[in-house]
Amino acid sequence: MIEFKFPDLGEGLVEGEVVKWHKREGDFVKEGEDLVDVMTEKATVTLPSPATGRIVKILAKEGEVVKVGQVLCIIEEAAPGAPVEAKAEARPEVRAMPAARRLAKELGLDLSKVAGTGPGGVITVEDVRRAAEAAKRETGAAEAKPAAPAPPAEERPAQPLREERIPVRGVRRAVAEKMKKSKSQIPHAYHVDEVDVTELVKLREKLKAYAGDVRLTYTPFFVKAAVAALKKYPLLNASFDEERGEIVVKKYFNIGVAVDTENGLVVVVVKDADSKSILEVARELQEKSARAREGKLSLDDVRDSTFTITNIGAIGGLWGLAVVNYPETAILATGRIVKRPRVYEGQVVPRDVMYVAVSFDHRVVDGGYVARFTNAFKELLESPDLLVLNL
């Protein structure tokens, strides 16, 4: 009998949600065969079976959130052979007082889920008790047990329902946590500017014909312009390491591009964007976006970005202040390109303009630096022939 544990996929991922089992209890499965889909913060991953044999028990139901190391199912091996053990558990470092640990163990509570309110964030006995109460209430609500405790105060069956409770799961949950983390850890500041993209619009129009079957959007141009500007202002291509008090400046340029999907926002990453041409970037984005919408992204597609670009304007609105993609230092949000009257060479003429808003981590840089970066970015879009120098 082997226990199939949710393996450590790296990148600090600690949990995932079981989306779909490819096999049922009692089914036979071969080693390497697709066994279960688990959705993590970054992507949905299909886990292969570690062994050949019969699935005797599935322990993690679809929709259940599982932790790294948690047993997902038990397989009774058919053929002799060394079982493929899941990789060694990577338990995150959790600080708790000894009595709290013991209590958590007794109550079957996972300490990494408990919020610590003791000095330095350490988990105390009371914290465990509170978590235990909360867990009880949660399971009480999710599973309608016949011997359920008294209904919570919010429910008043006598009155018609005035509110609807939607469980936060999956990508929504992942996004919610990400946003919270980013906003709570990073002191956000913003820089907004208007870019005259009239020349860029003309250029793209002209180049569309040469792109072949690649759909050429403005994004690849933004990506390249951003890379050029980041080279001049590298602090925006960095991370703030609070623990060590260091700013980690990345020497590589993995540009993340936010893609809207049915299930929510996903950031696909163009790795080493500095070494790719606009066409290559366009092709890559097209392909990844398609897969994103199909929910078929791999972890590799979504990890390791150093700077993110997001398009706010697609649906409407002038500009928007995006949330920095933690643990990066800045995110660049582009608004819709619209025709507006502007003063150009002394005349009031229609120009194509676009707002850009840079949200940034004020611990790392100040407004002036960001303004200069934005100016550099702007310059390349307003005179796109300058992009040729960066090929």
């Binding site: 000894p98 009595a99 350490v122």
Partner: protein, 330 residues
């Protein structure tokens, strides 16, 4: 009078010890007292007052000025069948008799394969808080504990002092009996006249509580009790009374109840007796701990410079602050 018809005079610790000596010398002719100035003068703290007049120079001996001599001589007396109670005028001077105390008195039973015992009680005033400088303030109980073959007793009340000294004198093991000089004159309490003993090796729960266990002894007991009264938390105070052997059972029982331990002693923290208590609690009750084990003790400098004598000693405030800190781990 108490309900047994025993008279209950109100005595301070010095007088209680004096009573114990009178009674034991009366009871057992093999009990003798020796030390510097213990005879005619009755001791510099008057703890041996009246003994010389009552029992005479062969039983109450003013010795030459030699701590090594006092301890070595007492050991010889004990080997010959006497029960000497040797006084070291200030425990700070005991180091002149370190060889006799640590190398010989502590090891005599063991090295003689059990053929010799040395029922010697070495009693001595210890501790700071009386502005007496580096050589009249030491609290060296940790050194004696580490000798392994000496029992170490530290009373905190007149009642305990009398009863513990009697037990020490009657036992057949060498005992270092440390008297907190800060408490010699006050407080006073009812001490039964006549015979009673307090067993060695048993702690006393002075105040009961559920939140924090304070383990202490000697001069710090009263401060701990005061802190317990003033604290918002429910504080249990344990007076060890004996350090070798100490009542780990009582302490661990309390720790398992409260989950928070604070150890208080006036001796410097580093390598002090509190470290032994802390290590034992960690060894035997770690998963009952809701908070780290804390020690409030003297600073790690020589005990105790006259100008900073008050700064040195753990105060009620310091104890309270530590209690509060531990309560931060709910």
């Amino acid at each position: 009078m108490d309900n047994q018809g025993l008279a209950m005079p109100v005595l301070n610790m010095a007088k209680a010890i004096n009573a114990a000596l009178h009674e034991e010398m009366e009871r057992d002719p093999s009990v003798v007292v020796l030390g510097e100035d213990v005879g005619k003068r009755g001791g510099v703290f008057l703890v041996t007052e009246g003994l010389y007049e009552r029992f005479g120079p062969s039983r109450v001996i003013d010795t030459p000025l030699s701590e090594g001599g006092i301890i070595g001589f007492a050991m010889g007396m004990a080997m010959a069948g006497l029960r000497p109670v040797a006084e070291i005028q200030f425990v700070d001077f005991i180091w002149l008799g370190a060889d006799e105390l640590i190398n010989h008195l502590a090891k005599l039973r063991y090295r003689s394969g059990g053929n010799y015992a040395a029922p010697v009680v070495v009693r001595s005033p210890y501790g700071a808080g009386v502005k007496s400088g580096l050589y009249h303030s030491q609290s060296p109980e940790a050194h004696f504990a580490h000798a392994l073959g000496l029992k170490v007793v530290v009373p905190s009340t007149p009642y305990d002092a009398k009863g513990l000294l009697k037990s020490a004198i009657r036992g057949n093991d060498p005992v270092v009996f440390l008297e907190p000089k800060l408490l010699y004159r006050a407080p006073r309490e009812e001490v039964p006249e006549g015979d009673y003993t307090v067993p060695l090796g048993k702690a006393r729960v002075v105040a009961e509580g559920d939140d924090v266990t304070v383990v202490t002894y000697g001069s710090m007991v009263h401060r701990a009790v005061e802190a317990a009264k003033r604290a918002k938390a429910s504080v249990e105070v344990i007076d060890l009374r004996t350090l070798v052997p100490w009542d780990a059972e009582t302490v661990l029982k309390s720790v398992k109840k409260t989950g928070r331990v604070l150890i208080v002693h006036e001796a410097p923290k580093f390598a002090g007796f509190g470290a032994e208590i802390a290590a034992t609690v960690a060894e035997k009750a770690i998963d009952y701990l809701r908070a780290p084990i804390r020690r409030v003790a003297g600073p790690n400098v020589h005990q105790s410079p006259v100008a900073h004598d008050e700064l040195y000693m753990p105060t009620v405030e310091k104890i309270l602050a530590a209690v509060e800190e531990l309560m931060g781990y709910d």
